[in-house]
Amino acid sequence: MLKDITIGQYIPGSSPLHKMHAPLKIILTILYITVLFFVDSPVSYAIFTVYTVALVLISGVPLKVLLRGVKPMLWIFIFTAILNVFMTPGEIIWSLPIFRFTLKITNEGLAAGVTMAVRLLYLIMGTSLLTLTTSPLQLTDGIEKLLKPLRKIKVPSHEIAMMMTIAIRFIPTLAEETDKIKKAQTARGADFETGNIIKRAKAMIPLLVPLFISAFRRADDLATAMEARCYNGGDNRTRMKESHMTALDVKAIVISILAAAVVLLAEFWT
């Protein structure tokens, strides 16, 4: 079951979204999120919805997959919506007195609840689109490129990207190992399934200790293997897959900025 974890849930494909330059895609996703937080009026929401739907269609990512990413956030959704519905002051349309409190729903609250829920939905969909159309490696590469200017102020951009790459690489290995240790401990009578939260947390100790020890050993081995292959940090390093901006990326920039402008105009004009 642990083996099913795939970071980022990348779905290979050949859509324009897949082919985009990764650093640019990250920047445009940030732009998307920024615009989203300015959107408030129904008109701009409508335009933003059209834009989002268009992106989803272009990406070729099945809607089912996209919504799967939303599912774990369902509780946050409901919680935010409820808070907004009940806590926003305004014109009361329904109320229910409970002891000294009065539970009331206002017009403004309903509007805020819906807006917040939709905003969260789009937020998750937008960022999911990024991770669904970009392989983890491209993503770390993109982050490395974006952080590169920060090298001047001693931000170790290459090392950060390398760490992320290795972490991604070792997730399946360690997940497999966790399963193995779990089975081994279960065979010796360890109980991971029953008891209250504290008891279960305590039961994790015989799982985590061997896992950590083995992870440290792996780290040691990997460091030696990397050194043996002349790894020497990011200086003078070349990349096999150099990605460059293409005409497609220029188009993407223009479209994104236009879409952002239209949405913001609709928001502030009306």
Partner: protein, 286 residues
Amino acid sequence: MIKTKNLSFVYRKTDEDGGTAVEEEVLREINLTIEKGSFTAILGHNGSGKSTLAKHFNAILLPTGGKVYVKGMDTTDKDSVFNIRQSAGMVFQNPDNQMVAAIVEDEVAFAPENLGVEPKEIRRRVDECLETVNMTKYAQSAPSNLSGGQKQRVAIAAVLAMNPEILILDEPTAMLDPKGRSEVIKTIKMLNREKGITVVLITHYMDEAALADRTVVIDDGEIVLDGTPKDVFRNVEKIKSLGLDVPQVTELAYELRKKGIDISEDVLTVDECFAELLKILGGGAT
């Protein structure tokens, strides 16, 4: 290609209380010369120092006494470390713990990327090396989806991408199933015979050592036997006293000889054994 001169290595560790340092002599006074294009197997049981010795061949460990020269370069010379590591590539025991990248071809590209090779040339080398180890089909796979033998072949390709002249393999088959072992050994043999790469194979499998041109047996940090596999495995008793085994057929021949049957001492492979037995059973049999 590789030459050690009175190589000694002392491993310092602090004991449990963290106080006094305990010194452990892992290698003592090793003098070994490995010829260009040769296939040398280094044998020894666990803790004999064979892996420690291998790690001296590409400057991962530096001698505490004596010298190691790789292609004439002193491993203690800081300026030539990367030259040494590039010419003497090393493959390790655990296939999972030596992979950096999440995709096979990126893994193979890792070493040339470190060396600052041009992207086009890296691409060419990656394709060529994957072809050499017969893993082209899996170029886009994730290492976690490969079998042990396949992972180890990728690890070999990842080292070959540096264009090394020497390939050092530290028990590359210890964690593999029989099928994976034979895949890896076949690849190693092919690299030695066809590409002329000097191979140093650290192993504790006797039948692998029997495939080499030369077998060096190490015990307690010292070379105890050195010669062709035939010469070495003739010393059945000595090898057994070191806690090692001889290949099964060699042992069979040895036991038969003890029983008074006149069979050659130089039996290393099943085919040789078969031929010898056939001879004894009266040449008439076909």
